[in-house]
Symmetry: C2
Subunit: 237 residues, 2 copies
DNA sequence: TTTTAAATGATAGTATTACTATCTCATAAA
DNA sequence: TTTATGAGATAGTAATACTATCATTTAAAA
């Protein structure tokens, strides 16, 4: 496994800056390396969160960051690539969190529980990344995430490894499932089911509550319970 | 339960024409009642299937059916409404099929098995509807279906009951789950999980196979097995 | 310190998309 | 015969999704 996360540890100020190494094919120019690039990330998150991906345009983005459309095209081929970039970033960040929280945990059932918690619970912006609001990004992934791969050009995008972070997280989860029960026959499909349902049940809970069993309380812990139940029943030895 | 399906039974010719009664708010003018309207349905299915929803425009649709953009706007407010219409149609049609196939079946476990088969297996165009190719429509629902509700205006669309067919199917499934095990605590969330995963695992199997456990064979029966396993483990008494 | 390259800003322009409006004409029901 | 209805034809607009060019600032290299 190659290094995906770069720790920029400043001992003196006791700040841990987390930098995620992104696939070069996701962008035209690396947005993390310039001021404008970082503004593009920060404000595309805000705008997509606010108005939805369909209403998001480079023109509007350019306006709020005081730049021009052409300026943004220097970083991203089109708005869909920004969406893929943001979701890829999110999945990489989540994989880091999962790895971090599962460190030194040996019991696979505890691993799975912590994992489900990390996947389904609301995210609090953790300040370890300056220009990414993880809380907003999480909500974007819930509401817009699947649009990143539900396209006619999935296969080409996949060849460019644009979905690798998602796949890596899926592999990680599948591995833990197999640790728990090496005989389980569908670890990957169950992993994607957990990931996707963590997001979708949250979306339904808020917007189409009658499609879930937790419309009244709108408590994300109920989603966690549902997923735990689903997973542990399935992989029971 | 109000009548959703209209059977237009022609005894003499032995043809059963199935007509699905659609919510009035889905369209500006009912496309089923005119030649142009039916062409809009037929060819929007073909075009969306062929080029994807993003590349689908009223202009292109108008060209292939020999009409004009303005002509299509007389039937649908915009292309997103066509997508909602098509998915609503599909879910109504599927609910009809499920009800039909589960008729006279009393054992809830057989019901659930038949249901999963109907949800996850490839659809064969059944010729009972002249201008709807159910096979193509099924593939559209797999690849584009969630875009119908993943918008900033879900709640308003929901108030107009545009997602009622989906919800009805969900209720139907949840009911069968409770028949099997009245003590099961998440029947609705499990129902949406079955529906969504039937589609998503199929999509992943074909386009991002490493996210599933059936990438090699690409056999949809493996999706059926996965779902059966998932469901019956969860609701076991 | 000067040269050079990189990053950005400013401006312009095009094809396409997503509509709205209006007017005519054919047809078929009242 | 009147009158709605459905549909074709045409026009026009604002916004979207780009591409191209050139000037300027800034920062790194010589």
């Amino acid at each position: 496994m190659k290094a995906i996360w770069v720790y920029d540890l400043e001992i003196r100020s006791m700040e841990l800056h987390l930098q995620i190494k992104m696939n070069e094919k996701l962008f035209v120019r690396n947005p993390e390396q310039t001021e404008l690039g970082r503004k593009i990330i920060e404000f595309s998150i805000r705008l997509i969160h606010e108005n939805g991906f369909e209403a998001f345009t480079f023109k509007k983005l350019a306006e709020v960051i005081g730049s021009t459309e052409a300026g943004i095209y220097r970083y991203f081929e089109n708005k869909h690539r920004i969406l893929i970039y943001l979701t890829a970033w999110y999945w990489s960040w989540l994989e880091f969190r999962v790895t971090f929280h599962l460190n030194n945990v040996s019991d696979p059932s505890i691993k799975l529980k912590k994992l489900i918690q990390l996947l389904a619970a609301n995210v609090v912006d953790d300040d370890s990344t300056l220009y990414v609001d993880e809380s907003l990004l999480h909500q974007i992934v819930i509401a817009e995430g699947s649009k990143a791969y539900l396209t006619k050009h999935v296969s080409e995008d996949n060849k460019d490894r644009l979905f690798k972070p998602y796949k890596d997280l899926c592999s990680l989860i599948a591995g833990i499932i197999l640790e728990y029960n090496p005989a389980y026959t569908h670890p990957r499909s169950l992993a994607t089911t957990i990931i996707e349902m963590a997001n979708l049940q949250m979306f339904f809970m808020h917007h189409l509550p009658s499609l879930t069993d937790f419309g009244q309380s709108k408590d994300e812990q109920l989603v966690v319970e549902f997923l735990e139940d689903l997973v542990f029943c399935s992989i029971r030895k």
